[in-house]
């Protein structure tokens, strides 16, 4: 077993194991800090798909921004920590565990079956890419290429998403302001 495969399996088990712990822990603060580990392990997995810039962006945006926001929201709604264990029944969401687990396992089974079925025939665009040798290699300068693509081929989605992000941030700060009229 070579080092690359070993590291991939290490990152994969780290990601899946800590994700399982995140959803099974009762203490939300601990779960959020474990979510940190999941995001780092996922960034490591992106590196194995030769997407270095996506991995760095994942660390900067998720760990630096999203996780801090989640921790803030958790600490501002801290009263929930006390009555977290209370039982509620009868609703669409928050099904009991014995109902959710078979559902999730069935879904996982369907996905694995789909992957196995899909493996029988590789898509045409992938085989042509392998034949023409246009597969991303580890020696390529990805960030250079991504910058050129963002400013030429994908410039319209890039501008649209920047305006969308500004709208979302203005909306979020508008929603969370204090109401002074009342």
């Amino acid at each position: 077993m070579n080092v690359e495969l070993f590291l991939f399996y290490a990152f994969a088990t780290l990601a899946i194991g800590s994700a399982l712990l995140v959803v099974s822990l009762k203490n939300i603060a601990r779960a959020l800090f474990l979510f940190f580990v999941v995001l780092f392990a996922m960034a490591g997995l992106y590196l194995f798909a030769l997407a270095d810039f996506v991995a760095i962006t994942q660390i900067m945006v998720y760990v630096g921004g999203v996780l801090i926001l989640l921790l803030f929201a958790f600490m501002l709604s801290n009263k929930e920590l006390l009555n977290d264990l209370q039982q509620t029944t009868g609703s669409l969401f928050s099904l009991p565990t014995w109902k959710v687990l078979p559902l999730i396992l069935a879904f996982l089974g369907i996905m694995i079956y789909g992957i196995i079925e899909w493996q029988q025939s590789t898509p045409a665009w992938m085989t042509t890419a392998i034949q023409n040798n246009t597969v991303i290699k580890s020696t390529d300068n990805n960030i250079h290429q991504l910058g050129i693509k963002f400013m030429t081929q994908y410039v319209l989605p890039f501008e649209v998403i920047s305006i969308f992000l500004m709208m979302a941030l203005i909306g979020a700060s508008h929603l969370s302001r204090k109401d002074l009229q009342k």
């Binding site: 959803v23 798909a49 997407a51 945006v61 509620t88 999730i104 996982l108 992957i115 693509k149 992000l165």
Partner: protein
């Protein structure tokens, strides 16, 4: 040699864990964490397939777009959760029963 199947299986597992969090959790913040896990699984798929697309770099670029969209969704979602908490004094979606003022 790491094949595409490795990535697909890992991302299927992460997606199902996220789905479990969305379905089973009683706290709105943990539901948001579950949605983030599902988005991360989708990004892993994008990146794994994007390895075979050197001409357009479609997978990596849409992975970056998905990260930005997820960040915006979390910002707006947390603002809504905090407002709901201020109004109802709970973040349990079961106990939030009315939309009117």
């Amino acid at each position: 040699m790491i094949t595409l199947t490795h990535f697909l299986v890992v991302s299927a597992c992460i997606f199902c864990i996220g789905l479990y969090a969305v379905l089973a959790k009683k706290n709105a913040i943990m539901i948001l964490v579950g949605i983030e896990l599902m988005i991360n699984a989708a990004i892993l798929n994008f990146v794994a397939f994007g390895k075979y697309d050197k001409i357009n770099y479609g997978g990596q670029i849409f992975a970056l777009f998905a990260i930005v969209l997820a960040a915006a969704a979390v910002a707006v979602g947390l603002a809504i959760i905090l407002n709901v908490y201020r109004y109802y004094k709970t973040v349990n979606p079961d106990q939030i029963r009315e939309l009117k003022d």
